[in-house]
Symmetry: C2
Subunit: 226 residues, 2 copies
DNA sequence: GTCAAACCTCTTGTATACAAGAATAATGAA
DNA sequence: TTCATTATTCTTGTATACAAGAGGTTTGAC
């Protein structure tokens, strides 16, 4: 059987299942069958269960005692709550980055903005999406607080499926780019408060975006099975 | 062999090891021996490994591939970083609680403050410590954001061993109580900004507290073994 | 026909067996 | 004596076997 040498099977499995979850491959309430997945990946249940543990701990799925592992999409309220925390974490990153960001990091951030804009012009949404992610990760790093950066990354990943469905909303991308530029400018001027405020607004679900999210949420997760 | 019926062994084990870690039972860099712990608890390695996974995910220990599970106390820089994030999360809770806190919750919060003060007067440090924890948990709940509350609780738990060593510092407890009262007052007046600012200052490591923490940290974790 | 209880099946939880990588001890050469 | 290399042991990672709870199904009573 295929063995990825040198690395733990459990970790590989975790990565793969995480990808599947994050790209929305499972429906809400769906149960992940241990034996089915095990033979699908060509491994035993053991590394699979380890992967489940790990995924459950990051909140990507829920383990119910003697019932199994379930995909539990956050309900709408919880989703808004999560974006609320994400907004604050990013604001915090921005505030700190304004003092601590290096010139190299500023160049990197500037580059992602340009690449993003080019991607929009070419209609390359995947590229836009990727570079948008890079922008935010660079920001987390620039905060100078590695613990904060890790936590922000974790939540960012967890929100991935729901951020994705937002991007396609009409007119969102140009607006988003304006905000990226504003953040960049605030960092350049070492204006922590401005960076924080812009980021908070950039990420938070409020005003029209609340309705946009609600609409696409209804489409994506029409009903809780659990 | 003893079986805790109705509940998963792995979860029980997790709780117990978590307690051991949080009360500082393990030295920094120490490796947790699977087989030793397994026979100590009278179970097989399987639930133990599940507990390790779970604990690793909350950051309480580190799994190194084919090396084992290690206690890795954060170094001083990381500890300050963590408190920085904790301060911001609590500030966030306070800000939101100022709008959303219920009258019942206000009464509960008020009660913990009184119990705390009584405990100080009687020299009952354990009681003080417990009620102090309750105060903060009530605050998390009062934020009205259950996701935020969970995240705050998680980090709070992770910082437990290091907060403990701070409390004994001379004069810290009365100062802490004054801050609790100020927070309570800010909530009563629905002054979110004041509540946030006081909490940020209450939790953050700055000024004299920086030196206090550094001193007690040196005492507690004199050297990294890894 | 409907409801309840016992039975069976299916899935998870735990234990044990086996494989393979790391650490360490032992052996030999310089 | 010291260093390198090999052999041995120990520990983790994975697979499989076994136990037990949850869910569904059949059977029986009303």
């Amino acid at each position: 059987m295929m063995r990825a040498m040198g690395t733990r099977i459990a970790d590989t499995i975790r990565e793969r299942i995480e990808q599947m979850i994050v790209t929305g491959e499972f429906a809400d309430g769906e149960r992940l069958d241990e034996v089915k997945l095990a033979e699908q990946f060509g491994v035993s249940r053991t590394p699979l269960r380890e992967a489940f543990q790990s995924l459950a701990a990051s909140g990507l799925l829920t383990l119910e005692a003697r019932r199994g592992a379930f995909i539990r999409h956050p309900d709408f309220v919880e989703l808004v709550e999560m974006f609320e925390v994400m907004a604050e974490l990013e604001a915090m990153c921005g505030f700190r980055a304004a003092r601590r960001v290096s010139e190299q990091q500023m160049r990197d951030i500037g580059r992602t903005i340009e690449t993003c804009e080019a991607a929009i012009a070419m209609g390359d949404f995947d590229e836009y999406y990727r570079e948008n992610e890079t922008f935010h990760h660079l920001l987390y790093e620039a905060s100078g607080n590695s613990f904060l950066a890790r936590e922000a990354t974790r939540l960012h990943k967890r929100l991935k499926p729901y951020r994705r469905m937002q991007l396609r909303v009409n007119g969102r991308m140009p607006q988003s780019m304006r905000e990226h530029r504003a953040i960049h400018a605030a960092l350049e001027q070492s204006d922590g408060k401005a960076a924080a405020a812009t980021l908070r607004q950039h990420v938070a679900i409020q005003g029209e975006r609340f309705n946009d999210l609600m609409a696409s949420y209804r489409q994506m997760a029409p009903r809780k099975t659990g």
